[in-house]
Assembly symmetry: C2
Homo-oligomer: 675 residues x 2
């Protein structure tokens, strides 16, 4: 009935003319011979069902046939490992049903609908009613007719037949998402310094991670990094400290990080991998202690010298540091902006780090030396540009500061697998902690470039898969807790499909919106039609029918719902000609699209973080049980710490002993004496 | 540092002037004496940290004091069950730190910022560095100064100290939500008839429920109900059938529902509760088999007569039916639209049902009789109108069709607890299946009335809590599987806070957007400030600082981000004067707000369903383990069926025997013989 727009427009609640999408003759039937239940149906053993077959003979349109529908089709059923295929009436010992005939019509696309040229389809059909399968296993139903053959695989699930519960109470929150649960929690329950004082009933059971910070319900990446790595909620922009009100960004009260505790107690090795500039908050949070994440130079220094400069334990620098952000490494003479104007490539080299500056040299790094890999001036290019639109790599962003193109950048998987090699070798069985960040899920969501954001999400998934396979092969999976989580969310969702060809051909902004199809008119994903050259990634990033995506709050922008082939998206621009710092819609971003005025402040050029809970997956190895149940983001720290045996048992408070190698060449104890 | 806008505007990455929100002097410090780490901080035993205290003395503004900040404050620490409070320097055996002094400034709100009138604050402070607590338990830190006392409760978590894992690999998908994971899955993995042929690596581990339907990636409530209740994916608008292409909406091939199987095998009793009109898809899916959910009269008939009319097993009607939708019950003479023009109150009464038409009569229904409770003409009023704005109940929607006001409507909790009483009594130990739907989470999200939607989500949570308490008390919790899930999502999220007073005072649409604060300027939830009269619900639905909420795709609308006190929201209207069926922004919906042009087709008056995965919680009782791991919505059916022992083991296919009481007075076997 999905197909018969003409017939049903008067009665179907959700079917609307004027919007449409990947129209289908009959949703379950890609060929002209249809079996219902269709291919891939699962059955409870003993569950009753009807069977219907249909033969379609379109009179016109792209599938037109010159003959009426076959009346002598046959349907057979065969169980795998059972007797050979039997005619369906024999199989169910029922009489042969009467032949039925009817006609229906449908529109092949929105252009056909505008032109009022429906396709007429003649149908022959039979229905076998009220049958059941009680022998678990795989079944094949085969429909044979004059035009061909349709095969449906059915599975009767093999399940325990004993009864465990007497009753079921099924609550359905119609349309309820984790995003709404998060918002409702903030409506009904008080939070003090980031900790809820009461909870939802739902929170007593497995839920994703809460991300809100100590003084606002929206977090930034710095204070969520603090929560994940230290177990302490903090404020926006703060890394590993509680923000005080003093002037110095380095005197705020610090808390020890999991990387520091794990090194201190076990001599474990630390690896930091990110597709962002490496001084960014999520990587930086593993070594820096500052109220201001934007103190990038000092963050980079902390990877090498820990926070010895700022009155803290003396931890050897990280063993692996892979990412972008070369401008905090090459000296000011090349345009760099570094801590105390030093050359940080030289600083790292002096401490025995080997250096990689592209994918090729990354892969040949020795596994027994500390390693620094910095691959671009700023963030690394995303999966989509590296793999589909390599022309966009020509950015003059080589990590040496010489402004040549980086045409051999690594991806998250390359960096992560190499980091594991080095950490395994160097930790000599003492253990390692590796943080691997898919940073551009966030960065591309900010700029509303959903294709690039989701491409990097798929790259993260691909990296997780390769990591598990690698550790399985070398036998260390059982020793290694693998977690996947996010630090916060964006209010992104998809609500339908878009006929981008139809959208492009319409003139007015309001007319263009007619290209969007919702519910049954969304159709199925067209991104995976055709050969997928890389497993788990789209076959086609630029199909005619795309996702109708959006953010819940946004700057001024235009939408044509097509992939941005020329490079990452810029939704809004600063019109300097107008002498203003306000952002306006960027016409060039989607010339064929329509304007959407923003809901965020006009000073915002991009989207912003959102409130929603985020998922946490404990993927393998020991301690998975510590990550089930209700979570605040600080519980990820405590779960990791418990798994690693980082908790101590003593009898009272202690002042720490200062680290042996503590230096005083930067901000130090005296810097908080400011009036 | 959140407070010091003036100081940090030049350096803070995320702090923007021009947008602001619930400004705070210092986020962790609601009084003038501050302890860092603040109240509610948790510590790993042995984790090093710094302590900072600050005494604030504002020179001007609402908190102005006439004296300089105290320089002789004291901080003590005491462990619960330990010795009495000790001075912090003694406690950690460290020397007394030097006194520090500084000054900072902040703006109390956006009006102060526009007027350039900052508040100046003088500060005295001390910091104790590099201390640790190694004795797990609860600690109290008390700051005493000339102006008062601040108390912070700290917890040193008591955890296993043994080491279980050697390594940790932490993957962070920056900004990654379940909504994005869902979209990415559809980008990278093929689905046939609703079943993915490959999966994300992440999907190997606990994830929420996938909701997409057989022929489109966006589901409606009918086909998701089919998946939940039958284990078979279907098409939009279809209930308990695979949609074929024939004209009749009643001849499509059917699959047996969990309610039918459970009744057939064990004589279990079925209860259906919803805050929607009771013929709606989510309740209707438990008894109807039709391609068109809009055949409301036939859906209601199926509750009473099962689908005997349409060639199917003969199941006794449901034992409990509570909800709205009286217009499918009272006869056409009163304006009803019923199946075969019958009076369905009379039809149900004839079969022995007792009837309730308000909350009072609901509560006095006998527990040993079948029960029908129909409370309003259409959907039931939402929690917010029943409890906060009762004037909005005056709708002339009494369930008798006489157009008087229903001033005594029940809520979801009332209906659910009564349904359990009746089902427990009538099932006589044979078991029952109760479906309880919070329908207006969806209905109010459609009309972008986020307050009403989230209020009903909190009511669902309250109902779940009361249900668990009830079953715990009567001893049946161990026999009863309690599940909470959703049938699909909406692209809703919150991305900041709004100063609604400031918004109202600005003139232009672009200026009004300056009232929105993001990140640290979001502030904390103002909905729970003050006394919460009902536990788990807001103290104030109309605070000055509200949520900055939105949908990812939407019709034309206006936003002022305030609760709609006059009744449910109407974002877009049909301007009949223009002779068009297009929807335009409804000015009256948010007079003080600004316009947002839609991204949905102009024929849409509301928001639509979205792609996102939804959560599933197995809350108590047996079989919780069947609901962990990766899920498609059909797996909820199979999990419930396994838990109830509904699977059979036989050796082959069987044709069913027709139900004994099968009638032929409606659509029947012959109706699919149409050409």
């Amino acid at each position: 009935m999905v197909a018969s727009s003409l017939l049903l427009a008067a009665t179907a609640l959700l079917l609307r003319t004027g919007s449409a999408q990947t129209f289908r003759r009959l949703g379950t039937c890609p060929t002209l011979g249809c079996i219902l239940p269709p291919d891939q149906a699962d059955f409870l053993s003993g569950q009753y069902f009807d069977i219907r077959v249909e033969i379609h003979a379109p009179l016109n349109g792209s599938e037109a046939t010159n003959s009426p529908p076959d009346e002598k089709f046959t349907l057979t059923i065969e169980k795998e490992g059972g007797r050979r295929a039997a005619d369906v009436s024999n199989y169910f010992r029922t009489e042969e049903p009467k032949l039925e005939k009817w006609q229906f019509s449908w529109y092949e696309d929105l252009f056909a609908q505008d032109a009022k040229t429906p396709t007429i389809v003649n149908v022959t059909s039979k229905a076998w009613r009220y049958v059941q399968l009680t022998d678990p296993g795989e079944y094949t139903a085969t429909l044979t007719w004059s035009g061909g053959e349709t095969v449906a695989s059915w599975l009767v699930r093999d399940m325990d037949t004993s009864r465990k519960a007497k009753n079921v109470i099924l609550f359905i929150g119609d349309g309820m998402t984790t995003n709404m649960i998060t918002a409702a929690r903030h409506l009904g329950h008080k939070s003090i310094n980031g900790i809820f004082q009461s909870r939802l009933a739902l929170d007593k059971f497995p839920v994703p991670t809460l991300t809100h910070s100590i003084d606002s319900f929206i977090t930034d990446s710095a204070n969520s990094a603090s929560a994940l790595y230290s177990g302490h909620k903090s404020s926006a922009n703060a890394l590993g400290v509680y923000a005080d009100s003093s002037k110095s960004p380095f005197d705020d009260p610090k808390v020890e990080l999991i990387s520091e505790i794990f090194s201190r107690k076990y001599g474990a090795k630390i690896g930091v991998v990110s597709t962002a500039y490496i001084a960014d908050a999520t990587p930086g949070g593993l070594s820096a202690h500052t109220r201001l994440r934007s103190e990038y130079g000092a963050v980079v220094d902390s990877y090498l010298n820990s926070v010895a400069n700022y009155t803290w334990t003396d931890i050897e620098g990280v063993d692996v540091l892979f990412g972008g952000g070369a401008e905090q490494f090459y000296p000011p003479s090349l345009g760099g902006v570094t801590y105390q104007d030093k050359d940080y490539y030289a600083e790292f080299a002096e401490k025995g780090y080997s250096l990689a500056q592209n994918k090729t040299s990354l892969q040949s790094l020795p596994n027994d030396k500390k390693a620094l890999g910095i691959f671009t001036v700023n963030n690394l290019p995303v999966w989509l540009d590296r793999n589909v639109y390599p022309e966009n790599l020509k950015l003059g962003n080589s990590p040496d500061g010489l402004k040549t193109d980086q045409l051999d950048p690594p991806g998250l998987k390359d960096m992560t697998l190499k980091a594991i090699d080095i950490l395994q070798t160097r930790s000599e069985g003492k253990g390692y902690f590796l943080m691997s960040e898919a940073a551009s899920i966030d960065k591309q969501m900010h700029s509303m470039d959903y294709d690039r954001a989701l491409g990097d999400l798929l790259e993260l998934d691909d990296t997780v898969k390769a990591t598990i396979e690698k550790l399985k092969k070398d036998g260390t999976l059982k020793d290694t807790l693998i977690l996947v989580t996010a630090d916060h969310g964006h209010g992104f969702d998809v609500a339908g499909g878009v006929d981008t060809l139809y959208l492009e051909k319409q003139e007015g902004d309001r007319e263009k919106r007619g290209a969007i199809g919702t519910y049954q008119e969304s159709g199925l994903s067209q991104y995976v039609v055709g050969e997928q050259k890389t497993e788990g990634f789209p076959a086609d990033w630029d199909p005619r029918y795309t996702f109708h995506s959006g953010l819940a709050t946004f700057p001024d922008h235009r939408e044509n719902y097509k992939v941005h082939k020329e490079g990452p998206r810029t939704p809004a621009i600063n019109l300097k000609l107008l002498g203003s710092s306000d952002y306006y819609v960027n016409y060039k971003d989607a010339v064929t699209g329509f304007v959407v005025n923003g809901t965020l402040p006009i000073g915002e050029s991009q989207g912003v973080h959102s409130l929603t809970d985020v998922p946490v997956y404990a993927l393998s190895g020991p301690c998975q049980d510590l990550f089930s149940g209700s979570f605040n983001n600080i519980d990820i720290f405590f779960g990791m710490a418990e798994c690693l045996g980082l908790s101590e048992k003593g009898t009272r408070g202690r002042r720490g002993r200062w680290g042996k190698g503590r230096r005083k060449n930067g901000w130090g104890d005296d810097d908080w004496m400011v009036w």
